[in-house]
């Protein structure tokens, strides 16, 4: 019986550590497609606010468009699914597409109608890749997982989380 308080204390410590871990996980800022579209300026320039995320770890949620090899070492992350010939609006282009360079061994069950969470080093601004051409927004060393119940924010929607949150 004397061991019970010690065990309880240990459990509490573990729970605190676990909460700390979750809190740390949520510190990765989430960028939305609404923010990316809003950041676009003339001559393919982007705002300083978005540029300030460059080199930092960010999270972006969207649909996977497997425009690269089937090992998903490269793919496009889009606000709009590649499927659905009737339901969704036609994707616009650069501003609504993020070029994702994933770390090797992406292990997901690909579904064009599911939303995925991508975390990795963000880059903003025009860049030309030898293989995949010109891009505006990129995520490198990305890790991919399914984002259950996620919502994709469109331009003009005010529910998008504020930057740095």
């Amino acid at each position: 019986m004397q061991r019970l308080p010690a065990a309880l204390t240990a459990c509490l410590w573990l729970a605190c550590l676990n909460l700390g871990g979750s809190a740390h996980g949520e510190e990765v800022p989430r960028l939305t497609f609404a923010q990316l579209v809003d950041s676009l300026r003339a001559n393919f320039d982007v705002t300083q606010t978005i540029k300030s995320y460059s080199g930092r770890e960010v999270e972006i949620q969207g649909f996977i468009i497997p425009a690269g090899p089937p090992d998903l070492s490269f793919f496009l992350l889009s606000r709009v699914s590649a499927m659905g010939n009737y339901c969704c609006e036609v994707p616009v282009g650069q501003d609504e597409t993020v070029y994702v360079y994933a770390t090797k061994g992406v292990k997901i069950l690909y579904d064009p109608l599911r939303i995925y969470r991508v975390r990795g080093a963000f880059e903003a601004g025009p860049h030309t890749d030898r293989t995949y051409g010109v891009s505006l927004f990129r995520v490198r060393n990305a890790r991919v997982e399914e984002a259950v119940g996620a919502k994709i924010f469109k331009v003009g929607e005010t529910t998008a989380p504020a930057p740095n949150k």
């Binding site: 468009i65 497997p66 690269g68 090899p69 089937p70 998903l72 793919f75 889009s78 282009g93």
Partner: protein, 396 residues
Amino acid sequence: MTILTVALKYLRGRFVASALTAVSLTLGVSLVMASVLLARGIKEGFTEGTTDYSLVVGAKGSPTQLVLNVVFRMDVPTPNILYGTYRQLRDDPRVEVAVPVALGDAYQGFRFVATTGAYFAGFPWRRKVFEVSGGRLFRDDVPGQPTYEAVLGAEAARRTGLRIGDRFYEGEELAEYPLTVVGILRSTVSADDRAIFFSLASFWEMNEVSRKMKIKPLTAILVRAKRMSDLPSLHRGFNISTETQAVFPSAVLLGIFNLLSLAEEVLTVIVAAVAIVVLLYLFVSLYSATLERKREIATMRALGASRATILGIVLLESCVLASVGGAVGILGGHGVVYLGASLLAARSGLVMNVFRISALEPVVFGGVILLGALAGLLPAVLAYRTDVTENLAPLS
């Protein structure tokens, strides 16, 4: 005499039982290796053999059929689309390269692929390199003036025995339009090794239906966009049309991989069951052998062998059987995969590299020895505990 020599002598002493145990281990390991290597090989074959083009445009129908036929030369071609679709894509400012492809007919099972010289062109984004090992590529002849020049994939040339300058045709209908081999490609380790390429003009003239058509037919168009970000809109544009579809080849392959992973899960359960049965067999074999020779063990103990030595002998027997079964099983697994890969390559365009050695082999080998030792542990403990006085008592 070392304990290994004693263990080997014991195994030789009951040769039939030992051989049968090793064979069952070999079969089990072969099954595990073959299933893992085949599943991995099929995925890698699809990944490495896929096209560098991001989009395939074809007639409405099954996306899987379109990709498997155009990229891997499996299945039958999808219905035709009109040449106008190619012109539309060629003139689209978002498109960097559009390559028209027409498929149909074959020579000795090697599919005819009618296309333009752009199919073989090198680009900075292209992994696949086309080079001729002999001769040259066919000329992009003008419609109505076909030259019937053909370029053979490496495997097609090897299997058919055709050489540069040879004329060939298959079937009565095509006898009027024999093709002439002008070049042979180096291997690209893809379905293109098993194809026979020639110009669209030759293809249209060889076929009665297309000969009469004013606007010529195509099977598909391979598309590379200038900007990847234009692909979603290009894709959508063709898919809202009632006649054409655009498909991301990787999306189709990922769908196939999803199905494969389901099959892999089922296979894992079967393989695990087989492994348990094989280990139980090894355990029963060693256990009964230990029971049979309790008297011998007691004699050895009486002659000065320690309990640890007895334990070591039985464990070594188990490890030797596991090593033999593991090594031969790994080789056997590769053999089965080689046969499977040859069959797949002969019947489809899927090329698998079966001779690639990875971390799998040492892991499986080590795992088999470890599990073998585990299966031999209880018989070894039984031998270890063998009572000398009880087992050396007169049998009567």
